[in-house]
Amino acid sequence: MPEHVTAVVVGAGHAGLAASHFLRRRSIDHVVLERGEVANSWRHERWDSLRLLTPNWLTRLPGQSYDGPDPDGYMTSAEVASFIDRFAEPAPVRTGFEVTSLRAGDDGFSINGDLRARAVIIASGACNTPVVPAFAAALPPSITQITPHSYRGPADLPEGGVLVVGASATGVQLAAELHRSGRKVTLSVGEHVRMPRLYRGKDVLWWMDAAGVWDQRHDEIDDLERARKLSSPQLVGDEKRRTLDLNALTDMGVELVGRWAALRDGRALFSGGLRNLFSLADLKLARLLDTFDAWAGDPSDERPEPTRVPARPRLQLDLTGGEIRTVVWATGFRPEYGWLDVPVVDAKGRLRHDGGLVEGVPGLYALGLPVLRRRKSTFIHGIEDDAREVTDHLADSLLGRSA
């Protein structure tokens, strides 16, 4: 006899557990299925020095805030895992339960063939698999390649030069860390989001929160597709609250090159469009700071120096000459949906959903994806509103009311 529950949540990270929090409040019986342990990716898929981009006071989950001694600090991965552990205590989590198949039928869903549910919330994460360009497979064998999934620290890499690809938070943090380890670092920069750590003496994410930028809803955003694939802002959870933008990296001695466009005869070929990427990021940052000033009702002339363009950015780099020994792919992640036996993933591998309501499959929901319902959905504290609204919809649907 298959087991029956009303709802199944896939994934016991912050998103799945927030869903469980609201399902419990509504007394909807459910289980949270977790392939590994609670907060699995925070324990096993993060590098050692990683800290959250959001300050501790902002890192909150439904009914649980930071209560430690350093509200302006930034949690380590281990601290995030403990924070989520505490949140998980009352949740009906089944660890070591890997969902390998999800089918939809007339009377609900079937999980792995032996668990039935009327509703399913997919909260399996946005960063399951690192994305690397196809030409990665053709790099010279003398080059060590690593992704942030398996990178733990500089000691994992051979001595010698490193090419870090991608200028998201991950890319700039790893470039800085590898540079500090004594290696020569080249950073290949694509589209990126520039931010100062502090603006007018406050954490830039305080401004994002206070000025309401993060509250913008998914159905109010002009180009939602673009907003959902934006890379993470160039920030680091640094104890000294330092800015880690491209100028900071240039000052350290990191060499900037354009987007890695192609591999030819063992050479990396970089785009010559670096200047415009800098302009785009600088202009976008200026507009963001203008938004903060407008909200504050008080203009400021505190503006970061424009991103400095290298005198002659290199357009190619010989990967066979020994200058580069390692390539670090900080080129993003994608969610893994191979276990979904329902046609809800588009040609680019993205889940088709409207604010967490999976299109065409009533009873199937998603949580914990970038800009799911609001700009803040990407961050831990953004889950509360999303999880409440998605579980509200789920509950109303079970009762036969359309939300």
Binding site: R264, L269, G273, S279
Partner: protein, 181 residues
């Protein structure tokens, strides 16, 4: 919503973007040019037909382009140098982008002028293996008069580069096949 009129049918472009999401095969275009050697380094290239939206298409009229080298290259100067055609393409593409983005953002343009300079060390094409054949660098300077702040105008120019086919073709490598039929 907007009263700006730069003569760009942005709605048609937005509609096309939406339509092509469901029919990506219709988005496959092939642009074609045919050239014939005239004499010396002078050649004539004509362009008339292309393929797109799933079928053969024809320009309203055939266009003819003369390419030659200038007198300082000991040639007859029957037309511009081939590498100058790249400047024509870049200026045309970026300017079209500025007009389209301005239309989409409701910004009325009064004048848009671009000045394009390509730095070229010709020792490369003369056989010096340490110098590349093509441009060392290209610089485009826009003079734009519009109902917009300087920041908005800079954003127009930045977005135009971001969506420019020719800017991409010049800044990124392209796989080029040349063969004898």
């Amino acid at each position: 919503m907007t009263t700006a009129d730069n003569g760009v049918n942005v709605q048609a472009l937005l509609d096309a973007r939406q339509a092509l999401k469901d029919a990506p095969e219709a988005a496959q275009f092939t642009w074609r040019a045919s050239s014939r050697w005239d004499h010396g380094v002078h050649s004539t290239t004509t362009i008339e037909k292309f393929f797109g939206l799933g079928q053969e298409q024809t320009h309203k009229a055939q266009s003819t382009f003369e390419a030659d080298h200038p007198a300082v290259f000991a040639a007859e100067d029957n037309g511009i140098t081939p590498i100058e055609y790249l400047l024509v393409g870049l200026a045309g593409c970026l300017t079209a982008g500025v007009a389209s983005v301005a239309q989409n953002r409701g910004i009325q343009l009064r004048s848009v002028e671009a000045h394009v300079e390509g730095q070229h060390d010709i020792r490369g094409i003369l056989g010096d293996g340490d110098v590349r054949n093509g441009y060392e660098g290209i610089k485009v300077t826009f003079n734009i008069d519009a109902d917009a702040s300087r920041q908005e105008i800079e954003a127009l120019v930045a977005q135009s580069q971001k969506r420019s086919a020719v800017f991409d073709a010049l800044t990124n490598p392209t796989d080029v096949t040349v063969e004898v039929a």
